[in-house]
């Protein structure tokens, strides 16, 4: 898919500049079938600075795994393992 020019995506500055590298589903690659909602520091890798879940277009995860990620993150937020709105989480 032809890469959209950077000027277009200026307004929502992409968090990590991963446009050019081939995106892959890290969960399928690592063979992870279950994303544990109790594991805070693993889930932190799936959030951006404000504590929002990283979208699929940036991380390249499959829809099935993205739903598991979202489910785990929301459970972790409920249990106060992850903040709903964080400031500079990283």
């Amino acid at each position: 898919m032809q890469k959209v020019s950077n000027a277009m995506s200026l307004q929502n500055e992409s968090i990590s500049n991963t446009e050019n590298r081939k995106k892959y589903d890290r969960f399928k690659k690592a063979g992870i079938k279950y994303i544990d909602y109790k594991d805070g520091n693993f889930l932190l890798k799936l959030l951006n600075e404000q504590g929002k879940i990283l979208p699929r277009r940036l991380t390249g995860t499959s829809l099935k795994n993205q739903r598991k990620v979202a489910q785990a993150v929301k459970r972790a937020r409920h249990l106060a393992i992850l903040p709903y709105v964080g400031d500079s989480l990283k």
């Binding site: 690592a30 520091n41 459970r75 409920h78 106060a80």
Partner: protein, 123 residues
């Protein structure tokens, strides 16, 4: 009733003394075992800092029970949680086969830190 696998986590307010915390945990263990649940695994993640204040408190005592039980028990468990004011947050989920497999491997130590999980599981 076909027993399903469940995992329940709850957070106790930190203002409790150790004894109160212990008997709160025991009370919920009784609630489970009396209603025909078979406790598979029990873990307390201890006093941890909360990501955001709950009821104006910044730390909480996390307790986890993994158990096998018929579905009817979950409603009782939840009302018990809501009734007990020492519990500030609770969550009960059903475990699918991947979750069960993950929990078993975690107990066997195969799943080290999450980072290792990535390469540990990609063998």
């Amino acid at each position: 009733m076909f027993p399903n696998n469940y995992e329940t986590v709850f957070i106790l307010t930190p203002v409790l003394s150790d004894i109160q915390m212990k008997d709160a945990v025991d009370k919920f263990r009784e609630v489970l075992t009396n209603n025909g649940a078979e406790l598979v695994h029990e873990e307390n993640l201890g006093l941890r800092k909360l990501a955001y204040p709950i009821q104006h408190k910044n730390t909480g005592y996390y307790q986890l029970f993994e158990f096998k039980a018929p579905g009817t028990i979950i409603e009782k468990l939840n009302t018990e949680y809501l009734r007990d004011e020492r519990i500030i947050r609770h969550l009960t989920i059903a475990l699918d086969k991947h979750a069960l497999d993950y929990n078993d491997r975690k107990r066997k130590g195969l799943v080290g830190k999450k980072k290792q999980t990535e390469n540990a599981e990609s063998k």
